[in-house]
């Protein structure tokens, strides 16, 4: 798999570290236990397009949001995580 890093261009997937589904957003500190359980443990786990976090540790060391299809591994978009919404 090759990931199109917006900073470095298309690079081998082995340069990146995976950090899972990007859609869960950390709740406010006073959101309550149920909201945090949902954030930490529950996942939609889609069979199809997913937004996920990848870290380009052996490149520009940016955190990316990558939109990838979990059935085909086709990547439709990749952007810097900073300033982007999943």
């Amino acid at each position: 798999m090759r990931i199109p890093c917006p900073y470095c261009g298309e690079r081998d997937g082995a340069e990146f570290t995976y950090c899972g589904d990007a859609s869960p957003v950390r709740p406010a500190a006073d959101a309550g236990e149920a909201a945090f359980v949902d954030y930490v443990y529950m996942r939609s786990n889609p069979a199809g397009e997913i937004s996920e976090h990848w870290y380009h540790g052996q490149g520009c060391r940016n955190w990316l949001i990558v939109k990838r299809n979990t059935r085909t591994h086709v990547i439709s978009a990749a952007m810097l995580a900073k300033g982007s919404a999943p």
Binding site: M1, G20, D21, Y41, M42, A47, T70, R71, H73
Partner: protein, 417 residues
């Protein structure tokens, strides 16, 4: 027909024209007392024990493809019960006990072969961790031996003992571990369940659930029509999130692909199952002679049922580091299966929040070896509406209550378990 040496001899007199299919390929014929979604090893074992132990009369197993065509046919066939954490230890040992009596119980040759599982250690800290795990196992009555370097050398002299980086110092040995023939496990359970009246319905994909006005699950919509049932059990590991989504549930599970590999056939070489302690690599030899091995999951969410090359390389490097002579063997095939990777690396056998819907999910790496006990405990839960004592820890709400069973200590990172 009961299989035996006498039946075989009688059959020989009639030119073996007495053989007929081992199980009925049934059409849906509801309503059922219990509907099991998923015709893999776990689903079929559940149906068998429901009929046999709990006397449930009308049971259906719905399979979207053909039975055993999913993960039951894609694993590396290892059976073992060398788990260290409370909850896992008792459950997998119960599974091992069921494996030991499985062939007599099913009257089917599942080729259960207790050749031993040897986990190698390469340093003092790892030895201590294995000693601790072995002690935990022995306290629960599971066999475990910590063996030294010389003992390992006598069992497997071809290993890379003097590797500069990861010299083999010894291993944790479970002699009762070993392998079983994965397809035969599926076929054996299917035959035994079918003989007890269980309907095995293939090419029947569940496309939705039918709920009563009060919200209780009362049936399923399938590609072969609506089928009603008193209770519905999900055993669709790999795709649990998809089926649960139809019921409006989110689960603490991600789907990942795990690859496995087999080489050309060799003369008997490996004494049993051997695992590398300094990387992720496990290997055994099938009865046909091929070396069957595997390693890490690919590391990112996938439903693709095929893996990528970096993991192929990583697994083969592990093999070369452990037993350099494996480099002389040609790899024949590789394949991938989709795992339910749960948030703590342990499974879920529990009621769901929806009345009438029961979960059997999150098997991670442990699915095949767990087949008999998973079926046993899921059948118990479905029939009596209370968890079986050895599976009582596998609750869905353990993530919220902090009672996670994290054997590897990785936290809520499914790709690292």
């Amino acid at each position: 027909m009961r299989y035996s040496i006498f039946a075989l001899a009688r059959g020989a007199l009639t030119k073996h024209r007495h053989w007929h299919p081992a199980w009925r390929d049934a059409a849906p014929n509801g309503p059922y007392d219990v509907i099991i979604v998923g015709g893999g090893g776990h689903g079929l074992a559940t149906a068998y024990y429901l009929a046999k132990i709990h006397g449930v009369k009308k049971v259906a197993v719905l399979e979207r493809g053909w039975i055993g065509g999913g993960n039951a046919g894609r694993n590396t066939t290892i059976i073992r019960s060398n788990y260290g954490l409370d909850g896992n230890t008792q459950f997998y040992e119960w599974s091992m006990k069921l494996w030991e009596g499985l062939e007599q119980d099913l009257n089917y040759n599942a080729m259960v072969s207790q050749r031993g599982v040897l986990n190698l250690y390469h340093g003092d800290a790892q030895r201590d961790a294995y000693a601790r795990r072995g002690n935990a196992m022995r306290l629960h009555g599971v066999d475990a031996e910590l063996v030294d370097r010389d003992a390992v050398r006598s069992m497997a002299p071809f290993l890379n003992f003097d590797a500069a980086r990861f010299p083999i110092q010894g291993g944790l040995l479970q002699r009762r571990g070993g392998t079983a023939r994965h397809d035969a496990v599926v076929w054996g359970y299917a035959r035994a369940a079918s003989n007890l009246g269980v309907d095995i319905v293939q090419n029947c994909e569940v496309t939705g659930f039918v709920r009563s006005p009060e919200g209780r699950m009362i049936g399923v919509e399938t590609t072969r029509g609506k089928i009603m049932g008193g209770k519905i059990g999900m055993a669709v590991a790999g795709h649990s999130s998809q089926v649960a989504e139809m019921a409006g549930l989110r689960l603490p599970i991600e789907s990942h692909v795990l690859q496995a590999f087999v080489t050309e056939a060799l003369k008997p070489l490996l004494p049993g199952v051997i695992t590398f302690g300094a990387g992720h690599f496990y290997v055994s030899q099938s009865d046909k002679g091929g070396l069957v091995f595997g390693g890490d999951i690919d590391g990112y969410n996938s439903y693709a049922q095929r893996g990528n090359l970096p993991v192929v390389e990583d697994v083969c490097e592990g093999g070369m580091a452990l037993m350099p002579m494996i480099g002389r063997v040609r790899m024949l095939r590789s394949w991938g299966g989709i795992m339910d990777m749960s948030m703590d690396g342990s499974p879920i056998i529990d009621r769901s929040p929806i009345d009438g819907l029961y979960l059997n999910a999150g098997w991670c790496y442990g699915g095949f070896k767990a087949t008999p006990a998973s079926g046993w405990c899921f059948a118990h839960l479905l029939a009596r509406d209370e968890p079986h004592p050895v599976a009582a820890s596998f609750r869905l709400d353990r993530f919220a209550t902090g009672r996670v069973i994290d054997e590897k200590g990785q936290g809520a990172q499914p790709n690292l378990h």
